[in-house]
Amino acid sequence: MYPFKKMMAGLLSLTLVALLGGCGDRVEPGHLLVVTAVGVTKGDKGKYHFYFEGINPSEFTETKRQSISNSFLFDNEADALSGAISAISQEIPLKPEFSHMQLMAVDRELLQNGDYGYLDFMDRFDQIRNNLTLVAVNGKDLRHVFSTTSPGLTIPSFGILMQLNELHEKVGGNYPTTLLRFMKSLTETGSNPVLPLVQIKNPSEKAETMDYAKELNKQTSMDLHSIAVFREEKMVGELKDLEARNVIVLQNQAKNTIYNYSCSPNKYISIALQYIAVKKKVVYQTDKPILKVYMHATGTINSIQCANYFTGKSKDYIRINKELDKTIEKELASTIDKVQKKYKSDIFGFGEKLRMSDYKKFKEVKDRWDDEFAGAAVEVVVHVNVQRSGIRGEPFMNRIKNKKY
């Protein structure tokens, strides 16, 4: 009898466990709507207009593929994100799962007003990943951003993220700014945040269908070359292309990039830089801060368009080094200058450097640091060491006129 009693007790307690526990958090992957991205714009009826990108998971399996769209977009107007989520649940028979959300696109207008009412939910909700990437989007593009696929990738948000990562790794372009990093810049003194700005080139209805993947000549594409600049908590403008790249170099976020300078009119030498290290420093002389930037990098010659400029000798390397140093110094200084003049916002993190080196002074100027920054003098020193020239020495152009054999 004894083992029987024990077994009954065990069974009873298991039943109790099942009844009391209630399995409250159980989810069934088959009934999940995996939300991968969310977009926010200003709404008409509600405070915000939310866009959600959901995955159609059966398209990603061998056996259950129906060859319909891989992701779908639905939108909602609500005063808060959680309201929008409960509204989705009323529309769609699946349980939305936010734990795999990767991208959050925010309308430029909201950022310009410094409106972050939708962000606290992301910060607080335990399902959200820390590497949720934040991007700014021009308001009217937002719907298109979530419905335009990139070549090779059938989910729009994946395309944007892959593109951002590629840009960052290969050419020192825009980098994915995580929610946490953005929050840190917003809530700590010393630097203002930046965000990648996503735009659509030639938006078209055709690009928003699955058939677009079969087109060879793709007109519509994502443009990720700009960054949104913030002052305090408000977005104040954008920087494009090379200037954006310079900002990222100055933030010491660039791993690789390419700098060009002209060796003769309309002819260029381009050098790929690696191992870029940027040191920044702020020194106060009397009452005016001096921003000092020191950059070091290793370079590889990518292409030379001028004939007889480079012969592969050591002195040519030194000449290229010097020319390149001058060019980069000029470019960086002009970018800092533009940010100082136009936006008056320290997006480079000079303030942090001052906090580390001279905390007393920093505490004094902390509240008006952006104005101090705008009035500061700039010193940029660049030292690039061009070390190699690919698998060729002298360029072939040198030998077109000057045939040796």
Binding site: L20, G22, N131, L180, K184
Partner: protein
């Protein structure tokens, strides 16, 4: 060769004290208002903690008693000693309940949000009861195993954090920018009492496991406090360098948040469950040690058998843990401002100090009496 392993070794007290100190201290936000300098406060308190454990054990050694309840009777007389002893039992149960609540809050907030708090606490309680019922010899051996697992997880965590590379050591600068002054209040009213002052729980039974608290045991205990303090310091540094002081200050469970930050090759992501496992191991050790300390007292005063007391007392603790605070913020605020000043300081420092003085004086009187008698 297989061994019998009955008995207690210095390694065991090393690991038990280590895990006890990690306990919930690694889980909750330690010294959030110190910002960038929280780690310095912890490091500083580690050394005071080493003194504390030496002092607590000195109390036992000097009086030749097995546990603090007997020391209390020796120092304060039968009635006074019993009253203060019961206060200590209540104190251990209360702190045990608070620690249980800390851990259950973590589970409810970060792992199973829809399961009621009572239920997560109950599951935790059942585990604690089972562990306690194994007997002290067995659960100390079990904690040694926990220690290895905890160390392994901590090392893996550090390796992953470093491999992830999203570390910004500039977050630590400037070190003590505002000078040492503003740090002192929180250091002495928060970090010192929690977790280091809580080592007082060991006085309730350490003497029974290690009858004469030999030099080896003392050395192991001191090293253990040092190691635990170092691990806490490293943890706080990791939290700071992964997301800076402003987010750490707002984080409920900064270590869990820091572990969420790890993303390697888009494959190793969200490893917080592994970290929570390590925290769970340490939390079980802490709760078990407090419960055992309280039970030892009850056993000593009432003479009832240890096994019969476990279930009622641990269930009572679970019940207290549910009613100990209304909401999370209440819980944290009481833990940071009320408990240290009105409960920790008297029971962790004042009573042992008074005891030491009383016992010294008594032994001196006795000596004088002896001399006059001769």
């Amino acid at each position: 060769m297989i061994r019998k392993m009955d008995g207690y070794s210095p390694l065991q007290i090393f690991i038990v004290i280590f895990l006890f100190l990690e306990g919930t201290a690694i889980l909750i936000n330690l010294a959030p208002d110190l910002g960038r300098d929280a780690w310095i406060a912890t490091l500083f308190c580690t050394f005071i903690g080493m003194f504390l454990i030496w002092w607590f054990f000195f109390l036992l050694r000097n009086t030749n008693q097995r546990h603090i309840y007997a020391v209390l009777q020796q120092g304060l007389g039968k009635i006074g000693g019993s009253i203060v002893g019961v206060v200590y039992i209540t104190y251990f149960i209360y702190i045990c309940a608070r620690d249980m609540r800390d851990f259950s809050e973590l589970i409810t907030n970060a792992v199973l949000p829809s399961i009621p708090l009572e239920w997560t606490t109950l599951c935790f309680t059942v585990t604690v009861i089972y562990v306690l019922r194994c007997g002290v010899q067995n659960f100390v051996n079990l904690f040694v195993l926990f220690g290895y697992v905890f160390a392994a997880i901590f090392v893996v965590f550090l390796v992953l954090v470093i491999a992830d590379g999203e570390l910004d050591f500039h977050n630590l600068l400037p070190i003590m920018g505002d000078g040492i002054g503003p740090m002192l209040p929180s250091t002495f009213t928060q970090v010192l009492e929690f977790p280091f002052g809580e080592l007082i729980a060991f006085t309730a039974f350490a003497g029974m496991l290690y009858p004469n608290l030999s030099g080896k045991v003392m050395r192991a205990s001191l090293l253990s406090v040092l190691a635990a303090g170092m691990v806490l310091t490293v943890t706080i540094i990791v939290e700071l360098v992964t997301f800076g002081p402003s987010i750490r200050e707002r984080a409920m469970f900064p270590l869990v948040s820091a572990s969420r930050n790890i993303s390697i090759g888009n494959f190793i992501e969200r490893i917080e469950m592994i970290v929570i496992f390590a925290i769970l191991l340490a939390a079980i050790v802490k709760v078990c040690i407090f419960a055992y300390a309280a039970l030892q007292g009850v056993v000593w005063y009432t003479g009832k058998s240890y096994n019969s007391l476990i279930i009622p007392y641990v269930l009572l603790t679970a019940e207290i843990s549910y009613y100990v605070s209304n909401n999370m913020s209440d819980h944290i605020m009481v833990g940071l401002s009320f408990v240290p000043i009105y409960i920790h300081i008297p029971l962790q420092f004042a009573v042992p100090a008074i005891l030491l003085v009383f016992i010294k004086m008594r032994s001196r009187w006795r000596k004088r009496d002896d001399q006059t008698a001769v």
